[in-house]
Symmetry: C2
Subunit: 208 residues, 2 copies
């Protein structure tokens, strides 16, 4: 839903320009959102932390939800393919596991604000209906992502997944969310703990 794009009589090159402006705004907004969270982030705060004025935000986005919604969808396109390379290039189960866990702890550490924001927005979507379609879409993407990994893992070990895709996603996501929440209090040990726990769990998700 939302995010009006067409409706402007401008020439073709203008649409691209508008889209690029939108992306710039979204990137700036995501930075602020990641730091402050949904509840504490205002349009003015977003504008202040960017090179734009608060009026511009309203020129490119109908309202706040439109902006957030756009941000969420923009963000999704950058993250759900994170493990694709690992899945495609791994030639053994161990290689896949270490590659997967390496990338996962890496994004946990390097993109903490984005993950915090994601769990925040998913929680908000329980109260704000307008966010629900976007959140649902991302959840599906992430579920598919986990499923690709697990399928490949099963292939490489000569086994088959012993849980369905939604279950696998919920389990892995539970561990990852725990790590994201715990990372603030304990940034040193959390990545290793996550790795350890996923290593414990992964073999249990397949059966010979």
């Amino acid at each position: 839903m939302a995010s009006t794009a067409e409706e402007r009589p401008a020439r073709v090159s203008g649409i691209d320009k508008i889209e690029r402006r939108r992306v710039a705004l979204a990137e700036s907004a995501l930075k602020t959102l990641g730091e402050l969270g949904y509840a504490r982030t205002s349009l003015r705060e977003i504008a202040n932390n960017s090179e734009f004025t608060h009026g511009v935000v309203h020129y490119y986005f109908r309202d706040k939800i439109d902006l957030i919604s756009y941000c969420v969808r923009y963000y999704k396109t950058k993250c759900a393919r994170r493990y694709d390379e690992v899945v495609e290039t791994a030639t053994s189960a161990a290689e896949l596991a270490t590659g997967f866990l390496g990338k996962m702890t890496q994004t946990l550490v390097e993109e903490t604000p984005m993950h915090k924001l994601w769990y925040d927005l998913r929680a908000q979507s329980m109260f704000e209906e307008q966010l629900r379609p976007d959140v649902e879409e991302i959840d599906k993407l992430l579920e598919a992502m986990i499923w690709r990994i697990l399928s490949r893992y099963a292939d490489l070990t000569g086994t088959t997944p012993s849980v369905d895709a939604p279950t696998a996603y919920a389990l892995v996501d539970g561990l990852f969310e725990q790590a994201v929440v715990g990372y603030a209090a304990n940034p040193d040990k959390t990545p290793a703990l996550l790795t350890d726990r996923l290593m414990q769990v992964l073999p249990k998700l397949v059966t010979a």
Copy 2:
């Protein structure tokens, strides 16, 4: 942290009265918070949905965080012992499993707002440091709760848990959170799905 209780020169009976008032305020606040979520709930909204005026809120709580903090701790005392009876009375693994799952789907359905609020607050705690100690405490309580169930389950099946307590909690919590988020969109099928998925997973958390 927070929630000033002593510091009042009142007589003993007065403290109880104050505490009872606090509880009444907290219960009212929890109702509103559960419906609207943390971000959209203001002190005035809380007061409006109660028999009190917004001034009273400030008479019993130093500020907003103090109130929320109190609410969270009050809420926790009512929920982390939810499965104790089932754990103590079950005489077989099957009985324990069905009892546990029954209670879990029941609370999912009957106390949805509270669970939504919990996940919301946990997300907020990533951005609001003052909430962190309370959230951490509840998380520990819930972890212990899950661990009691899993231990008993292992006893009754003559096995031992194959994952540690934080892992078990993260896995079960992942499934439950998925159910809470999904419940809004699909209240009919979600409880059954949760039951099914937990039934798949539970046996995998123990080894002979």
